[in-house]
């Protein structure tokens, strides 16, 4: 059986990929690589998260974690759709304000530079404070400039858990939950400049027990607030809801089994130089762990949020959603990757196809920074978009080489199996890459160009395109045929 890893594509993305003539024209005109974003998908993704909040009767806001993609089209579309935005840098905050987000719908997260903090305070956005020092700095700043009170949340970390010791990787971010008392002292002292609206966490983990422990920790911190007469009413549980990248779980299972066998030498290598993705062979035993994103994830995105909210709190003995509702709290979420599910693709031109010994090498006009699936360990096949009118060849297993003159520049170290051998001039589409896998790290190494980004929209069955920076949700609609 050919070890395919076919990406999951929903109707809108699939329809966009079917526009092979249009896609070839765009790459001919704008060059390879080319990023394609689909703002039209966002409404559905947003609705998915809102539906989970609604089903649990929880009021709250969905703040898109901007860091997952820099596209203006996506951010402007979300502004028009009434979503919130989580910004983590001065640039992202400026971008948010320029896209039309009102201050109540912007949440500034992460450690902040002085200008970032100052603009956040002046614009009146919600400041999700990373440390106590940041709270003090913000209070001074507000007082010094006579600004209105700023709404703040306190990001907590280092939660403990009852019963079993749920270990978490140490985080660089947030205030240890043991310092909640000190945080509240500060907030009481600065009550005239800072308004506490709630507690927050974001954990970079897929582990539900860790997140349940964190949510519980926030609930207890909120209770401390109430004991002091403070009345915060929101919890922000960050992002990390995940995406399911693959169409077929069985493919993922047999692929990972085959990879294990290849590491043990029981079948021919499936990777460049026998790379094991974290697995290695020690005396016939597999050691290490498979360090890749679980590309097939049956419970991801809004469904993961639902699962978390339905989890029974280990110490308070009610489902987390019920506890939130009982306490009349709002629940904010900051999905990045999950909100961009199905929202885009990176296109690259095939420059050369050559046989080298037993292997077939395909050189592409893009590099591993233009599409960072390998860095993120997301294993999924690209989709071949042949030049219109050209018949496809036989199925082929190929290695994908990048356009940097570096030994290490492989788009993926996996041998990728394609239903037809590509030819120069064909396109490979790396789909569902809008969340972190697009131009997160793109640069001008070797003076190679950074991809242009275009927004594709479908109106009355016809596909239209425009440059990302020229996309405005309402304006574009006017000329629909």
């Amino acid at each position: 059986m050919t070890p395919y890893l076919v990406p999951r594509t929903e109707p809108l993305l699939r329809s966009a990929l079917d526009q092979d003539a249009l896609l070839h024209q765009l790459v001919d005109a704008l060059g390879s690589p080319l990023n394609v974003v689909l703002p039209g998908q966002l409404a559905e993704n947003l609705a998915g998260f809102r539906a989970v909040l609604d089903a649990h009767r929880l009021p709250g806001e969905v703040y898109f974690a901007h860091k997952a993609n820099r596209s203006s089209a996506l951010v402007r579309e979300l502004a028009a759709a009434g979503a919130g935005l989580d910004v983590a840098s001065l640039g992202e905050l400026q971008h948010a304000l320029g896209a039309g987000f009102g201050p109540a719908r912007i949440m500034a997260t992460g450690p902040k530079s002085p200008p970032f903090l100052a603009l956040a305070a002046r614009a009146g956005v919600i400041v999700n404070a990373d440390t106590l020092a940041e709270l003090s700095e913000l209070a001074l700043l507000v007082a010094a400039h006579g600004l209105p009170r700023v709404r703040v949340m306190v990001r907590l970390s280092s939660f403990d858990s009852p019963g079993v010791n749920v270990m978490s990787r140490r985080s660089r971010f947030g205030t240890p939950v043991s310092q909640v008392g000190a945080a509240l002292d500060l907030l009481e002292k600065h009550a005239d400049t800072l308004e506490l609206i709630g507690m927050a966490y974001h954990l970079d983990t897929m582990g539900l027990p860790e997140k349940a422990a964190a949510l519980e920790g926030c609930l207890k911190a909120m209770d401390e607030c109430h004991q002091r007469g403070l009345r915060p009413r929101a919890l922000d549980i960050g992002g990390g809801f995940g995406v399911n990248y693959l169409a077929d779980g069985a493919q993922w299972e047999s692929y990972t089994t085959a990879l294990t066998e290849a590491v043990l030498g029981k079948r021919p290598p499936m990777t460049w130089h026998g790379h094991g993705y974290g697995l290695r062979n020690e005396g016939g035993k597999v050691r290490g762990t498979l360090s890749v994103y679980p590309s097939y994830r049956p419970v991801a995105g809004a469904a993961y949020l639902d699962r978390l909210l339905s989890t029974v709190s280990p110490s308070l003995r009610r489902p987390l959603a019920t506890l939130l509702l009982d306490n009349m709290y709002d629940l904010h979420v900051e999905p990045g990757r999950a909100l961009l599910d199905q929202c885009g693709a990176v296109l690259g031109t095939v420059l050369e196809v050559r046989d080298d010994g037993d292997e077939t090498l395909v050189r592409l006009d893009l590099n591993a920074r233009d599409v960072s699936i390998e860095e993120h360990g997301v294993l999924m096949d690209p989709i071949l978009i042949s030049r219109p009118g050209v018949a496809g060849g036989e199925p082929a297993g190929v290695y994908l080489l990048g356009n940097l003159c570096l030994e290490s520049d492989l788009i993926t170290r996996r041998k990728v199996f394609l239903p037809a051998r590509p030819r120069p001039g064909d396109l490979l589409a790396f789909v569902n890459t809008a969340g972190y896998l697009m131009d997160f790290r793109a640069d001008h190494a070797l003076m190679q160009p950074v991809a242009h980004t275009v927004a594709l929209t479908r109106e009355h069955g016809a596909w239209r395109w425009c440059l990302d920076e020229r996309y405005w949700p309402a304006a574009d609609r006017g000329e629909a045929a």
């Binding site: 009767r57 897929m206 909120m222 035993k285 290490g288 360090s291 009349m328």
Partner: protein, 439 residues
């Protein structure tokens, strides 16, 4: 039978022939090796005792902590053994997937460390997995740990070479069975028994069972994980086959309901895997054969595991007074009042205000002079009949007014003349600026 030490009761478990009417094999006698009869409840008692016993004296002198990577039966047995010798026991696990087992371990005095989940954003510089790091930590000598190391410790296999294997042969009148089928966790039991059986009869067929990857079966490995097991040697098995969680539960039900063996999922899996494998062989046979499979542990610890996958097995009898039976008309007829009316009613009628939220939330903020009966408890009370006198007006309060409306409808149906629900719940109360207190 008299014993001086509970550990002397480990082993010498029964071998039970199953009724052919149940399994349907014509030419094969199928035996279950009932490891669930071990004193701490599983096949792992043997391995735990074999690995720990020689080192207990030294560990006690040094005050070591016994530590093992386990989320199940090995941890259970070691927790008991360590506890009996006054030693702390720590279980390090990837994920405690079965809540009953977690609770049992805590009850036995174990400390449980759950390793962190995978990062959502891959950190490519972090190539070392937590398990390996834990191994290195424990491997350092004089670390204060007695690490039993079940996946690599030869004494794990030894327990079965000296116990389980010879017992089977003795019970079959000195002959090895023709077929031996077992689930593979650490491979200790299957490898140990296989070694003994092969020694008696090189022609014995050994089948190792591992879990399909799509769902886990607590206690055993899946087809990829098995390659990480130090004791696993494919040479011990004639074939390695997979079983699904679904098949394991099917087998469990057969053993539990038809054979009187209260087996856990891996016992069920071994039964199902055995019957599947042997059925194919059975048709070709002309003479009698014997087969043995292992029932590793008991069913009681896996209620939630089975419930999650087969909720229908746990159908509850319908409750007499339950909000589930409320019709749309009843709901529409139930009285709901808005915040200003509720405030007036409370002041004038002195109605009882019942807050159905959890105690944690109630403690934080509630309506003055309300009483807290959390919804689960209230459901129990109502099940038994009206919990208030009919002449006592009642205002029910929940977060958004949905649950309270259903209970108002139910109490009305049960004959209470004046029960009302706070429309919009306590959230509406708060949003209207009405007073909330904590006292």
């Amino acid at each position: 039978m008299r014993y001086d030490h509970v550990t002397d009761m480990i082993g010498d478990t029964p071998l039970l022939r199953l009724d052919p009417a149940v399994h349907g094999l014509v030419n094969i006698d199928l035996y279950a090796k009932l490891e669930l009869f071990n004193p701490f409840g599983s096949v792992k008692d043997r391995a735990a005792w074999s690995m720990a016993a020689p080192y207990l004296r030294q560990a006690t002198e040094r005050g070591d902590t016994v530590v093992e990577l386990s989320s199940g039966n090995t941890a259970k047995a070691l927790a008991v053994i360590a506890g009996m010798h006054g030693l702390p026991f720590k279980s390090v696990t990837n994920r405690m997937k079965v809540p009953e087992i977690k609770d049992l371990l805590l009850l036995l005095g174990a400390e449980i460390d759950e390793l962190p989940g995978q990062a959502e954003c891959l950190d490519p510089t972090n190539t070392e997995d937590p398990l390996t790091r834990m191994h290195q930590l424990l491997a350092g000598s004089d670390s204060g740990y007695l690490h039993t190391d079940q996946y690599f410790n030869r004494r794990n296999i030894g327990a079965h070479v000296h116990g389980t294997g010879p017992e089977i042969v003795a019970d079959l009148d000195g002959r090895a069975p023709d077929y031996f089928i077992a689930c593979v966790g650490t491979a200790g039991s299957s490898a140990g028994v296989a070694t003994v059986l092969r020694h008696h009869d090189p022609d014995v067929t050994v089948v190792g069972l591992v879990a399909e990857k799509s769902d886990f079966i607590p206690g055993i490995r899946n087809i990829d994980e098995v390659h990480e097991v130090g004791l696993f040697d494919p040479g011990h098995y004639d074939s390695i086959e997979t079983i699904s969680a679904d098949e394991a539960i099917d087998g469990l039900l057969t053993l539990v309901r038809r054979c009187g063996i209260l087996a856990g999922p891996t016992g069920g899996g071994a039964y199902q895997g055995a019957v599947r494998f042997l059925s194919a062989v059975d048709a070709q046979l002309t003479e009698r054969r014997t087969a043995v499979f292992i029932v590793c542990d008991r069913v009681e610890s896996y209620m939630s595991y089975v419930r999650e996958r087969r909720p229908a097995l746990f159908h509850q009898p319908a409750r007499r007074h339950s909000t589930r039976t409320i019709t749309a008309e009843e709901l529409a007829r139930a009285k709901a009042i808005d915040v200003p009316d509720a405030q007036r009613w409370i002041a004038q009628e002195g109605c009882v205000v019942v807050d159905l939220r959890g105690p944690f939330a109630y403690q934080a903020l509630h309506i003055d002079r309300s009483i807290n009966i959390v919804d689960e408890l209230f459901a129990e009370l109502v099940h038994g009949g009206l919990p208030f006198g009919r002449r006592q007006p009642v205002l029910l309060v929940c977060p958004v007014g949905e649950k309270s409306a259903r209970y108002a409808a139910l109490l009305t149906r049960m004959g209470h003349p004046d029960v009302r629900s706070l429309a919009g719940g306590i959230i509406a109360w708060r949003d209207a600026g009405a007073t909330l207190v904590r006292d």
